[in-house]
Amino acid sequence: MTVVAKVWIDEDCITCDACQDICPEVFEVNDETSQILAAVRLDGGFDRNEGKSPLTGDLGAQYADIILEAAEACPVEVIKFELVSDGAETEIVAEAPAVEVAVAPAAAIAVGGSASDELTAVLGGDRSLTILFGSQTGNAAGLAEKTAKLASNYGLTPNVVDMDGYNKANLASIKRLLIITSTWGEGEMPDNAEDLWQSVQSDAPGLTAMHYSVCAIGDTSYDEFCKAGTDWDDKLSSLGAHSVQPIQMCDVDFDEPWTKWVLETLPRIACVDDSGTLQLELIDEMAAYGTSDDDDVVEGDFAPGHVDHSDIHVELELFRYCPSQGENGWDVIATTVPASASLEDLFINFQRDVDGSFAFRRGNTAGTATTGVRANGRIVLADIARVGQIVNNGRLRIEPLPGFPILRDLIVDTRRFEENRAKANPWVQADPREGERLISGKAVGVLAAETALSLHNMNAISSHLLAHGMSDTVDFDSAYVGPGIHLQRWVRFNDPRTSMKHRSQLLATLQEQGGVWSETDPSSIARHGSSGALVADTLNSARSRLLTEYKNAGRHGRLVKWYGRSVKWSGKLNETTLYRQVLGPIGLISNVFSGVSARMMLGFTRTGGPPIRSLQALLLPPAGVGKIPGMINSKVDDHHEVVSLFNELDQRF
């Protein structure tokens, strides 16, 4: 039998969450590193366990398999462990102190309509509301978020908590609790709720100080309709908790019953005062308070966008890469999923049901910048992209975000991007400038609202990493730092707070090798939705400025200048002029020796046409692209109209 004696995390964790996904009982990942939970450690610490504190009790045996699985799945192999030798007796040790679960920062209490003294008293003190959700496809999680948004109207401080990894010991300290859960399969808990549910089956704390209500989502076509919700309702009641509102059971069209439940429940649970007493006589006033028309009240979304509840059959192709074996390939499975499920929901299910070593970055269901993947060719954030919007003819092909080295499966290495970003120096380096004085006398700079809005709009994309992955060029030019970084440079250049010296530096880096001219094809970026179009437009603005600043210098400048001139001269592009002017004599000769001209002269790869056009290249080498075009274009009809447009809009040509 395998028993893990100690487990710890080395430096350089990339916070991919794989360990936490596989073994949440032992690992918890924050913004910087994975950590070993206090509850499993002899020393009760909560860090990387650099001191190599042993695991408590028999946890080393209980969790051995999944600790080893997590270590195997770690893309950067920073999870280290020691095994107890076979036959060795494990020491019985005291229970470690209970782990403290970090509570999310309290949201600001909304100030609703006017309130009586009694209501004002209820609105004071501890106003925390815990909303626990059990969710398989994201529907219950979405309702929990919407419930939290509305709860603020009633002076509550909501905290939405995933049941996954939740410590049952914290239940006893909860004064107000709402549970929103779906039911999975034949009356089973959703995957993220299963552990907590099992843990409260034995040795659950008394909950006599708790007021609660449950909203259950299910499907009446199943025998065990909303069983997960009714189980929780029964359990909380049996532990002494007080129901403020009977359980609401919702069918697949859950919006209407949820709305009814939330409007009836929130005033009631909001009337639980600081001492934990339900003030029944204030419920009507609280309901009016929470739904008053005061401008400060947060509006709930009672007319949510269309939610597609249909199930779709998907042939899922997942890219896999194992760094230790240096092998890559595709996992292909057929599955049926709700059309409204996110890609991340799919990944989670795949990891839990098919292969625990599958690695991907988790998000927060609100568009996490690091969850980028390529799904059926589209560059998307996996935590918000919906399966139904992406699947094509039943096929869903998932690849890592392009433009980055792959660490494992869908996890890419963003270190070079971050290094380049640091070198790009897109931070504020301001000159002294005019400003205002605060009442305290301290001087501060000011920025006009329209300028701030303009800068924001220039940069209004969900992720610079995604912008980087949209470019087809970055994989082929190691010097090119990519559109995501140039976008930040250009925004800082346009920031009026930026010093003149810094602006000059930024402009120079945009012009140099690896700068905006290294992007070979902005169309490959522009096609990626509104974000892609914004990035491409912004890079184009940078190019326009550089052409003016550097007076059409270099090949790029000559290309634009002569392209425009040839169109102005005749209304048509003259390719011969373009090649001659942009490449120059040396570039032209190089085409002769590289075989490009020869291929055109011999007509070997082209399909034909009058041979004389091929032979022209012998007389006037080289030919540029294809059959040599005319040296002089005939003019389009009414050519003066074209000249007029050029003269009016851009006289540089």
Partner: protein, 284 residues
């Protein structure tokens, strides 16, 4: 049916074989091409780099010229199609800009673009207006080759590619099947080959070109057909150079969509014979 024919920047220049083919194929399929003798270059996304407004004005004027005749524009060039689509959608979304552009072209040409005329790519027109059944009936020389379809990125954008999927297109494959060929699936069919930077970032463009060609070749293609006129130059004339830069196997005959259809419909049998020979020698 009638359309306003816009040949693009190169079909009557370096890519005369496209012009050679598009005229007879349209005649066979009953597409009446109406010339726009006043139409200009659309700016090729190059003029845009100096002045986006000037490029929009050129494209808006072309659209207005077609609108004056009550026709949609039809082009065989993916870049031209995307530029005209971009101007049309930008003007529809930004009435102030539309008004300014219309003032400009009204002063210069006494016309305005009211958003009635649209740009159509030859591929979309063949599939959606002519129909695969009619095309299949008109085939005289079934192609009988394994063909990789290359779309490029320019028109593969939501709203620009008609009813086809922007990121997983299939129109060209269905057309190949209708013409008696066998479409070959490969990953890079919408990847850019860097053609706008062929003259300025040639090395990178060569690497991108080689990646597409070698992907198609490794997937079993013996011939590539391009829906994009300008990418055609990279994929064809520069393929040996691309192979030399990268060390990849890039040799493969590459033809344009207009040639493929014309050959199957019985035009230029000598060129088709020449193509079959080249497929035997360097294809596969």
């Amino acid at each position: 049916m009638q359309v306003a024919y816009y040949p693009g920047n190169v079909a009557r220049g370096a890519m005369m074989e496209i012009e050679d083919c598009i005229q007879p194929l349209c005649k066979t399929l009953g597409i009446n091409l109406i010339e726009l003798p006043k139409a200009t270059s659309d700016g090729g996304n190059i003029i845009r780099q100096a002045s986006p407004r000037l490029q929009h004005a050129l494209a808006a004027r072309n659209l207005a010229l077609a609108e004056e005749k009550g026709l949609d524009i039809m082009t065989s060039c993916a870049t031209s199609h995307s530029i005209h689509c971009d101007t049309a959608t930008t003007m529809a979304a930004d009435p102030l800009l539309a008004s300014q552009l219309n003032n400009l072209i009204a002063r210069s040409s006494n016309i305005e673009y009211m958003g009635e005329s649209k740009s159509r790519h030859l591929l979309h027109l063949l599939i959606e207006e002519i129909g695969l059944d009619k095309i299949k009936d008109a085939v005289l020389n079934p192609l009988g080759m394994d063909i990789a379809a290359y779309y490029g990125p320019y028109m593969q954008r939501d709203g620009f590619c008609s009813e086809d999927d922007a990121f997983n297109p299939s129109y060209l494959e269905t057309l190949i099947t209708a013409l008696g060929g066998t479409p070959v699936e490969y990953d890079s069919k919408c990847q850019s080959v860097g053609s706008p930077s062929l003259l300025t970032n040639e090395k990178t463009a060569m690497k991108m070109t080689a990646a597409v060609l070698s992907d198609a070749k490794q997937s079993g293609a013996e011939l590539m057909v391009s829906a994009c006129t300008i990418s055609h130059a990279n994929l064809d004339s520069y393929q040996v150079k691309a192979g030399r830069v990268t060390g990849k196997d890039t040799t493969m005959p590459v033809i344009h969509l207009a040639e493929l259809v014309a050959f199957a419909l019985g035009h230029f049998p000598d060129r088709l014979a020449q193509l079959r020979t080249r497929v035997k020698i360097i294809g596969g």
